[in-house]
Amino acid sequence: MADAALQIEHLTSGYGEAMVLRDITLSLQQGEVLAVLGKNGMGKSTLLKTIMGFLPPHGGTIRIHGTPTTGLSPHRLAARSVAYSPQDQAIFQDLSVEENLRLGLRSDRGFAPALDRVAGFFPFLAKRRRQAAGTLSGGEQKMLIMARALLSRPRLMLVDEISEGLQPSVILRMAEVMRSELSGSQLSILLIEQNVQFALSVAQRYAVLTRGEIVDTGLIAQPGVEARIHDHLAV
Amino acid sequence: MVGAVLGLTLGSFAALAQNVVKIGVPIGLSGANSVVAPSVVQAGQLAVAEINAHGGILGKHVELDVADDGSGADGAVKAFNSLIFQQNVNALITMETSAARNAGLPVVARGKVPFIYTSSYEGRSCSPYLFVDAWVPEQQVPPVIDYFQKEKAAKTFFLVGSDYAFGRGMLGFTRKYIEAHGGKVIGEEYLPMDASDWTPVLSKLRTANPDALVSSTAGGAPNVTLTKQLRASGIQVPFGNLGVDEGTAKAIGADAAGVYVSQSYLTSLDNPQNKAFIAGLQKMFGSEMKTPNDLSEPEYDGVYLYKAAVEKAGSLDTDKVLKALPTVSFTGARGPIQMNKQHHAPLTMYLGQVQQDGSVKVIQSFKNVDPGDQCPKLK
């Protein structure tokens, strides 16, 4: 049996004394999309930061493709084909679109064909490659983030609230792009979301995070899932 | 003055010392004087070695104690304190910046030791403990100005100096002398003693376009930077340097060629004492020998003058030595030197011009130039 793309067991993590995540156990199979849903302040971003090596976990283990990664620095994880798109400050505002994209690859070799490929998803990128990324609109910036993550053909993507503040049309486009990249590749995605509809349109499985704990998890294909999730997220 | 009276009655602390005569040399091994200081130390070491070879002073072995004063006042206080109170020297014989000398004098007064100052300086520093065997403006400035006015038909002068007592004192006298002799000073600029960028001064010099330039900068480094930058700027003007010595001129190299100097000692002086002096240095220091110069030779004379005074007094007692000092004489490379009642020495002065190889060619000499009234209150 192939190793899971991401296997998290009994993970506890937080900032200093404050435990934001408690005893999280999750697994993401190869080729799968797992949506982690939850309201603000429930520890979703902390989960990604811990996986990516920015926060040292207080307990538990993280394995990526079977190899324990606890203690590895972020750039080493990136070298292992993990692409991380943070929620805030995810682009270099003062760098050009092209420079932002170049940073998605470990070297400049193979950049041209890779750029052509992602420009196929988001044509505006090719046209605006010289423009400073900070001058793009919010939606365009999110698409740039997605394109940069896909550029290196990662095996595991960690995506933090990519749909936040986007127009419905753009959200649809994002979902399409993700689905097409997933088909026939080894890519697995851990999707952090508040937008339930978007999450459900891309993911196969979901987990609900509330106050640092997983309170519900299951397959999206089940009937009545959407209502169930809404219950978790409601006021 | 209060200290002086006490000093005369109490006598010297240092006199209680061991069976050696200790001579302190507080000097600027670092900072502005660092270029010239090693040659001064060598002159002192030579004198001491010679004296020891001939039985010392009053049969006691002579030791030289050198302390760096950083060419400044603060460092001088530390160096003087250390020499007088820690090393218990019997006398101080040294060449220093005016800042260091002024700062050291109160320490000398407290420690009550004779202080022979061997540096040319701006004049009028008076203390019962202080004797000077080098020139003052009254002796040095006239040869240069007279020569520029007569031979170069200079009417307008530009003065440049380091901003400290010596620089201002020399140029103050120079300005008076020029104006008293019908010349005109069209610019007078100072840079801090440790400054090394003369660009703004040179800009003004270029704009003023004088007939002659006279400079009086601190010891070594400012002389070098000024001369180099003046040459690099392409400004052509007769240049009299009141602060440069032969060793420094050599360090500057070809850039110094053509500069006029007025000195009481030059290596090219043709007399047996000078030949013996240079030969002695060569023998003692070999390849390490620094070119002797107008600031180092007086140190050699100073040590011998002290020896003569001690021997005449028959004691190391400060009071007695101070009384004997104006009465003794020594003939060194600069000729016979005797300090007067006002603690300064009449000297023979030479106007010279630096050559391509850094040596100085004597153009004119002036016999026994009197320092004038330096310290009329001392009797």
Partner: protein
């Protein structure tokens, strides 16, 4: 007037060359390297060694570069790296380092002021006046150095990584950039540029163990007002250096020596972010 203009331009050039090493270290590492003055001094002594070995004065800068790169690498590993999270302590520790450098130089070379040969002599006719050739060369060096750093930063993968680390180190790390390596390389290069600058300014001036200090202070103030931008540094060098020349020429050199620090302090009070993003 032409002279004044040339004075301003060449002074700005010299200031830029002296400060740029400090600037790139500050940009990438976010710490002020107070050993910068010590590195400048070291560069001066590298030039002195070249002179004493009777090598061509043109070799002074390359020799200084090698010394600076190696020393910078060692210093980053041993002293700077443990202090990344304590920027104030990093200032103090690098100042301690500059004391050590000064004392080592003093032990090795003595305290006295020394001089090096200039690779070129005298003045050249220019725009109706004659002007110091070496100062003009310094202006060209500044332009070339600024251009070179600009090209590296803008045109190469290394420069792109460095800029990414300057702008957002966390994001750069998550994109696979080894920011520790970037910091290491940057500090080493910054030290190398500092020693080269020290070697380049010495033919104009004199060498002593403390020669780096006044330059460090000016460079520090320039970097404080420039932030992390090369263009800002060029502008600050021109404006503040120009003010220094004007004040020195028309008022007094003593006041001129104050111009840069005082103007920079005033600028920082009015606009804490300095020239950057003005």
């Amino acid at each position: 007037m032409t002279d004044l203009l040339l004075d301003i331009l060449t002074t700005a050039g010299i200031l830029f060359v002296v400060a740029v090493g400090l600037l790139i270290v500050f940009g990438v590492l976010k710490i002020i390297n107070f050993a910068h003055g010590g590195f400048l001094t070291l560069g001066g002594y590298a030039a002195l060694i070249v002179t004493e070995l009777n090598w061509s004065p043109w070799l002074a800068a390359p020799v200084a570069l090698v010394i600076g790169l190696l020393l910078g690498a060692a210093v980053e590993r041993l002293i700077v790296r443990p202090l990344y999270s304590r920027p104030l302590d990093a200032i103090l520790a690098t100042w301690g380092l500059s004391i050590v450098v000064v004392q080592l130089i003093t032990i090795g070379f003595g305290r006295s002021t020394q001089f090096v040969l200039s690779p070129v002599q005298g003045a050249v006719p220019l725009l109706g006046t004659s002007y110091s050739l070496y100062r003009l060369i310094m202006l060209i060096v500044a332009l070339v150095l600024g251009g070179l750093i600009g090209v590296v930063m803008q045109g190469t993968r290394l420069g792109l990584a460095a800029r990414a680390v300057i702008m957002n180190e966390t994001l750069a790390q998550s994109l696979g950039i080894n920011s520790e390596l970037v910091r290491f390389a940057t500090f080493s290069v910054g030290a190398g540029i500092a020693t080269v600058a020290g070697a380049l300014i010495t033919p104009l001036l004199s060498i002593d163990p403390l020669m780096g200090l006044p330059w460090l202070l000016n460079a520090f103030m320039l970097v404080m007002v420039s932030g992390t931008s090369l263009i800002s540094l060029a502008a600050a060098s021109l404006v503040l250096g120009g003010a220094q020349v004007v004040v020195s020429t028309y008022s007094s050199p003593v006041l001129g020596a104050l111009t840069i620090v005082v103007l920079a302090a005033v600028l920082l009070r009015i606009r804490p972010a300095g020239f950057a993003r003005a």
